[in-house]
């Protein structure tokens, strides 16, 4: 069981803290223009964050207790290839279809 006062303390402070993280630059910088070197770095935020976000989930999936799973590796590869060449829906469909097929075939 989770203590009620702990739950509310965590929820309220986490809510405030998360908002401040999200608001940080958008709130403080606002109209001010960023220096060119910062703009160059910021162009790569998305491709810098998302691969690192999913790498552990692909290599050590929580659903298998952290054991590397060939079916999931294949599925990630399929989603990647289709994502590079086609679109979002295609990538998600290809990834999940490959996962089900590989799970069925590999047992």
């Amino acid at each position: 069981m989770i203590e009620r006062d702990i739950f509310w303390t965590v929820t309220v402070l986490l809510g405030i803290g998360t908002f401040l993280i999200r608001f940080s630059f958008l709130g403080l910088m606002g109209r001010r223009s960023l220096p060119p070197w910062a703009l160059v770095h910021l162009r790569y935020v998305a491709v810098a964050v998302f691969p690192a976000l999913i790498t552990p989930l692909v290599l050590w999936p929580p659903a298998t207790g952290g054991e590397t799973d060939p079916a999931r590796l294949l599925a990630a590869g399929a989603a990647f290839v289709i994502g590079v060449r086609f679109n979002v829906i295609g990538a998600i469909a290809a990834g999940m279809a490959t996962l089900y097929a590989a799970q069925y075939l590999l047992g």
Binding site: L14, G30, R43, F50, L53, T55, I92
Partner: protein
């Protein structure tokens, strides 16, 4: 809203709508897990409304169940959300000029999908006027954020997640791959993504998911340096 802004809004809505496939099972799962942890429905909803960041909510919930000290719970959950400071910075050149009230709302509703989909479009179409960019962003928001509340509620009330045989856990990484794969359109982007993967593996030993922040920072530097390198090669043949 002008007609142009309105059409940008609905374009954002359409572009972000594939991600409902992930938001629905993920938010339902949070509702179910939080109820199993002994929270009342209004408490589950309070958390989803106040925090609106799934991964950190799961982290906080798990640590509270293990009776970790409040400071540890907060640090771990906030570390998961640190990446959003980078999203916030990356949005400044595009929508930083919006009125404060809009920026407050943009910040509160900033999630991985709304950020990724809108920044991808803004980079591809730098000429899009700021008002339309803001409208586009809120269109993305409308596609995923209301569902986050509704499906957390559904999960909390029904108390039944989608069965594990469907392996929907893996829909999350697959959807993120679908988000970034189409962005790998230049050498610097590819280098950044490669460093990102490598960094996540090499720093996996760091506590509190800090590997993500370290890997992302290194990847941004790698991308920028590759871009500078390519420019120098063009200037000096």
């Amino acid at each position: 809203m002008t007609a142009d802004a309105r059409s940008a809004f609905w374009r954002g809505f359409r572009d972000c709508s594939p991600f409902v496939l992930i938001v629905i099972p993920y938010s339902m799962l949070f509702g179910v897990v939080a109820r199993d942890a002994g929270l009342a429905v209004y408490e589950v909803m309070s958390m989803s409304v106040l925090v609106i960041a799934g991964a950190s909510q799961f982290t906080a919930l798990a640590l509270m169940q293990e009776h970790a000290p409040v400071v540890v719970v907060l640090l771990a959950a906030l570390a998961v959300n640190l990446r959003m400071a980078m999203y916030s910075a990356a949005l400044v050149p595009h929508v930083g000029g919006a009125p404060l009230r809009q920026r407050l709302l943009m910040a509160y509703l900033m999630v991985d999908q709304t950020f990724a989909v809108s920044v991808k479009t803004f980079e591809e179409e730098p000429k899009m006027p700021p008002v339309q960019k803001a409208a586009y962003y809120f269109g993305c928001v409308l596609a995923v954020c209301p569902l986050w509340y509704v499906c957390t509620f559904a999960g909390a009330v029904i108390g039944q997640a989608i069965p594990p045989q469907f392996s929907l856990d893996f829909a999350i990484p697959v959807s993120f791959i679908a988000l970034f794969a189409p962005m790998l359109r230049s050498l610097p982007h590819v280098v950044a993504a490669g460093v990102s993967v490598l960094g996540a593996v090499l720093f996996a030993w760091l506590p509190y998911n800090l590997a993500l922040v370290v890997a992302a920072a290194l990847a941004m530097i790698a991308g920028a340096q590759t871009e500078y390198y390519l420019q120098r090669r063009v200037v000096r043949p």
